[in-house]
């Protein structure tokens, strides 16, 4: 059956009235009913399926550019649905915005980590995807999908999209590969580089690397006092805590700093620009996956259609090449081209056995206490 829009529907009705097929009373009655229906539905139009736009929020920078070029514009050309994209500096900031919004105001977000997914679930912000509407989900590494299911009773509110690591980036002009292999994560608390060290001002990353620097399991640190001391040592040697990927790249490129943790894709982008920046994942380095999360109150069918479009191998590969993070597509099922196998953190087996991911139960269980403590330690306490 062909779908017709409201204008066509009105014109046909008017034509019938002008031809005398329906009387004036019926014509006006139908127009009135249509108006009443519109009035009733308008407040809930975010929930309606006949949508003209979907809002997407991501990390900005090269990632956003890749999405716009390879996914949103072709999607709009194909479906007529506009994708309005916004950016955020971090998951916490975005969650705060969502918390302050009305259901349906924000639709899809490029979120990081399973713990973020669990936080959204805890706040009742998850939706329920109809996986039958996303056939391209079959190409995704199964392990990446399955980690979400226990949090939302077997259902999913997102599709995995890419993965990467937060490793250590260093300027080879000042720090050799051999030195990095020797020092690992401890290079970030090396007095020799005082004032030339930086770090992400994110409490999870700081605690993760604090655990590595004190020889502990990041997903089960037993001596938190030692971790906080390592964080303090890093703070006292640091020039700055960076707050965005753009700032990370600027600090390294301008040689304001020699070493920091960094996001694998951003460091690869620096390398592509010709900067001699090395990148290393220390043992038990910080692995993470990102997903496209659909928020409660969003127009589900339109969102599912966009997710399916974005997961199509040609789109997913193009975006991955643009943002420099390996896609969530299983290399055993999809041919990923020439560039992706060269990206940092890429796992050709599709098992991701070599990456250590954050345990959502462990991290979210300490979130309130640790984020607050880090806020103090960060400021010299």
């Amino acid at each position: 059956m062909t779908k017709i829009d409201n204008t066509t529907r009105y014109e046909r009705l008017r034509e019938r009235y002008m031809n005398g097929d329906i009387d004036r009373r019926s014509f006006l009655g139908l127009i009135g009913a249509a108006g009443a229906a519109y009035g009733l539905v308008t407040p809930y139009r975010a929930l309606a399926q006949d949508v003209t736009q979907v809002r997407f929020d991501g990390w900005g920078g090269v990632v956003s550019e890749a999405f716009r070029k390879h996914a949103f514009d072709p999607y709009t050309a194909k479906t007529g649905i506009e994708v309005v994209d916004g950016t955020f500096g971090g998951g916490d900031e975005y969650l705060s915005r969502v918390k302050a919004s009305q259901p349906g105001e924000y639709n899809i977000a490029h979120l990081s980590g399973v713990f973020d997914y669990a936080r959204y679930a805890g706040l009742g912000l998850t939706s329920e995807l109809n996986e039958a509407n996303i056939p391209n989900l079959e190409y995704v590494i199964k392990k990446l999908v399955d980690v979400y299911r226990p949090i939302t009773d077997g259902k999913i509110s997102c599709v995995p999209y890419d993965y990467g690591t937060t490793g250590i980036a260093y300027n080879r002009k000042f720090i050799s590969d051999e030195e990095m292999q020797e020092k690992g994560a401890k290079v970030l608390i090396d007095e020799a580089y005082k004032g030339k060290i930086a770090g992400w001002g994110d409490w999870r990353t700081r605690i993760w690397f604090g655990a590595l620097q004190t020889g502990q399991d990041p997903n089960n640190a037993s001596d938190m006092d030692a971790v906080w001391e390592a964080i303090r040592a890093h703070r006292d040697l640091s020039l700055k805590y960076w707050t965005s990927g753009a700032e990370l790249m600027s600090l390294l490129a301008e040689e304001e700093i020699y070493v920091t943790e960094g996001w694998s894709g951003r460091i690869y982008a620096l390398q592509e620009q010709g900067h001699d920046i090395g990148y290393m994942d220390p043992p038990n380095g910080y692995g993470w996956q990102e997903c496209l999360f659909v928020l409660k109150g969003s127009p589900m069918e339109a969102c599912e259609e966009l997710l399916n479009f974005m997961l199509a191998p040609e789109t997913s590969i193009a975006v991955a090449e643009g943002q420099n993070y390996p896609p969530a597509l299983d290399p055993q099922k999809v041919e990923l081209g020439a560039k992706i196998p060269t990206l940092p953190a890429f796992d050709p087996t599709g098992t991701l056995e070599g990456l250590t991911f954050a345990d959502p139960t462990y991290w979210n269980g300490h979130e309130a206490e640790w984020s607050k403590t880090f806020g103090r330690v960060q400021k010299g306490y």
Binding site: S96, R119, E254, A368, G375, K379, G380
Partner: protein, 324 residues
């Protein structure tokens, strides 16, 4: 002619409002008194009618949100990040008793005070120069306003390109042979103050300028004709007369500096956070809106107290002139 009589005449000439003249003279006096009272009542209402759009906007956009913040400050954050409504004093107890918040508040006030002082020292000569210049005053004022055309964040970030390791200043110093290695100039307390001075200096200059511009220049000439040197004339005549402008500029600079969070975020080091950064962290990073509300009200109370003290001794009129 007093406006009330003008209005009375217009009112009486208007046929629609022309009262029926009673035959009894006593009644005529009573009617005129009623008309006058009615006009006075209208005059009393008129300012409120004219102010009503602004008052509505202020109520809806300032007082109502402020009320929400007050209410929020008594709620609690649960483990999941959701808010628990109710009347709890935990946030206030924490905000008022924890030395962490007190120390950062004192640090913030210190940075704001230094910034204000630097703005006053740098801004006064500039304002004096503009006020006493002949012919090109408008051009100078336009130049003063130019920075406002550029985003505050962009202006703040521009210092990275100037003071960075590979920034303009280091490059110049290396090129001239003054230094052989770049100096680390960014991300410390000094650069935070520098960024704030860059942002706030025009506010100081404008306020002092307004004050100086209103002083009769012949007063200085009179002082010198009575034997004072130019310096003495300035110190004993012009400076005291311009102090209200200086105080107004100082208040503006202090309040704006104490409430900033962008500058320490962009130009500060790990330990240079100011009080507004704590509010940001509580609300955004920790998703603890109730505590963030209590902290923001605490800052508001401190700065509000300062404004009240200023108003008590100097009045707000000078500040309004500077802003106008």
């Amino acid at each position: 002619m007093p406006p009330i009589f003008t209005i009375l005449i217009i009112y009486l000439l208007n046929e629609n409002h022309l009262p029926k003249v009673p035959s009894n003279p006593n009644c005529l006096t009573a009617t005129l008194r009623d008309i006058l009272m009615s006009i006075e009542a209208r005059e009393r209402r008129q300012p409120w009618i004219l102010l009503s759009p602004a008052l509505t906007a202020i109520t809806l956009l300032l007082f109502v949100p402020l009320l929400f913040i007050v209410v929020y400050s008594f709620w609690l954050r649960t483990a999941t990040g959701a808010d628990q409504s109710g009347f709890f004093l935990d946030n206030w107890r924490e905000a008022l008793s924890d030395p962490f918040y007190r120390d950062i508040l004192l640090f913030t006030l210190k940075i704001a005070a230094i910034t204000t002082l630097v703005c006053a020292v740098m801004g006064y000569p500039a304002a004096y120069f503009i006020a006493r210049s002949r012919g090109n005053k408008a051009v100078l004022l336009l130049l003063l306003m130019l920075p406002f055309w550029i985003s505050y964040i962009i202006r703040t970030m521009s210092w990275i390109n100037i003071l960075g390791v590979s920034g303009a200043l280091n490059t110049f110093l290396i090129w001239t042979g003054v230094i052989s290695e770049p100096i680390q100039m960014l991300y410390n307390q000094t650069t935070v103050i520098l960024g704030l001075v860059h942002f706030l200096l025009p506010f100081m200059i404008l306020n002092v300028f307004v004050s100086l511009d209103g002083i009769d220049v012949t007063l200085e000439d009179a002082a010198t004709s009575l034997g004072a040197t130019r310096w003495e004339a300035f110190v004993q005549v012009t400076l005291p007369l311009s102090l209200p402008g200086l105080a107004a500029g100082g208040l503006l600079c202090f309040v704006l500096a104490a409430g900033t969070y962008i500058t320490p975020l962009v130009l500060g080091g790990p330990t240079d956070a100011m009080f507004a950064n704590l509010v940001y962290e509580a609300i955004i990073t920790q998703l603890n809106w109730p505590l963030g509300s209590a902290l923001s009200l605490m800052l508001l109370a401190v700065l509000g107290l300062l404004v009240m003290i200023y108003n008590r001794y100097l009045g707000m009129a000078q500040l309004m002139k500077g802003l106008g």
